[in-house]
Amino acid sequence: MTPTPASAERTLRRGYVLTVLGLLAVTAVYVLAICYTPVEVRQGPAQKIFYVHAPSAWGALVAFVLVGISSILYLWLHDTRLDLFAASSAEVGIAYSLVMLTTGPIWGKTVWGTWWTWDARLTLTLFLFFLFVGYLALRAALHDRGERARFSAVVGIMGLLLVPFIHLSVYLFRTLHPQPILLKPSSPSLPPEMLRTLMVGMAAFTLLYVGFVTVRYAMAQLADLREGDADAV
């Protein structure tokens, strides 16, 4: 049950492999986006940023939900591995949300002339970003291992429950203050090339997420083992 340095190293290697595969997949998405997909009529080439923007938003949300779930499991089972996983997922999640939050305004400014809009997805990802920041800042500020794990687990669970309320707030706000619906694939049925590229994008970013988290998790395990030895001396 207790991880050994050897098993952590194995996980690390696996993680590197997955990460490389993920990066290759992301490169493939870029190629597809630039060469394969058609240019959208109203928005022009800038629309293609969507193939990076949407999957990273998805990745951030997945990362966040997994932080929440492993937080709940940690408080129930007290398995340190769940805590290390949550921390790794949060670090990858904050990176993904930053990607989403930078591509969004670039897209918005290029195509519609506004940097920011309080639409549901951007707003939610912004909140995920702030929640990630709080989560990671708290972890960095706590030196006692047990406290760090427990407290961040509580924050993780509370953050998970905050998400529906953010949704609700945005929904209520928009029904009373109708806003232009931006940053959405405007037609319900995308041309097949767009849909396929989007799917590839989702898969690629998910694969990359798994790779990053695996690497980060293995590194966290190694650090934890080293700390344990150091303390015991």
């Binding site: 340190t80 934890d224 700390e227 344990g228 030895d229 015991a232």
Partner: protein
Amino acid sequence: MTAPAEAPLLEARGLARSFGALRVLRGVDLAVRAGEMLAVAGPNGAGKTTLLRLLAGLMRPTEGEVWVMGRRLTRSEPEARRGIGLLSHQTFLYDDLTPHENLTFVARLYGLPDPTVAARVALEEVGLAHRAHDPVRQLSRGLLQRAAIARALLHQPSVLLLDEPFTGLDAPSAARFRELLASQLARGRALVLVTHHLAEAWELAGRLAVLVGGRWALEEARPDRLVDFLPRYEALVHG
């Protein structure tokens, strides 16, 4: 003085505590009966404070259980804590409140029937009645100690845990404190005393245990003479 067949007031079985990969306590058993004191010694970092916190219910064991007066100490049953008292370096007193206010609050925490009366009586018993209504921050170290003792004993705990209580006490205070411990034992309390200096409470201890590296290096009836025991102790600690 105590019947050996009596059920212990405090019991621990297979007590272990880890922090991630770090194992601080590795399987400790103990049993303390009414009117008996267990002295726990050992080098720094051996896990004595962790052990005390586990026994007090302030920390959750990774493995094993603690039983107080036949009730298991778990999160879901706060009542089991009623029998425990702890005297540690922290006084648990609020500086801005008076001893009387502090103890009244504690009495309420423990659901004692007449909180203000219980507080007053406890303060009289430790000789603090004359300063009962001055803020705690104004008390001298000696009086502060007395207030801390009053707080620890207020709810008449059957099990009393003491974390190096003789630290910083001058000889007369230490003697008075030993008398207090003796009277607690006479009332049938079970005591666990964590100490650095075996001489402090040698006579009072019924059992002696030495904690080294998270485990008992020794756990037995207190030997007769301290001078004879000291070489053994050195060997255990530095061996």
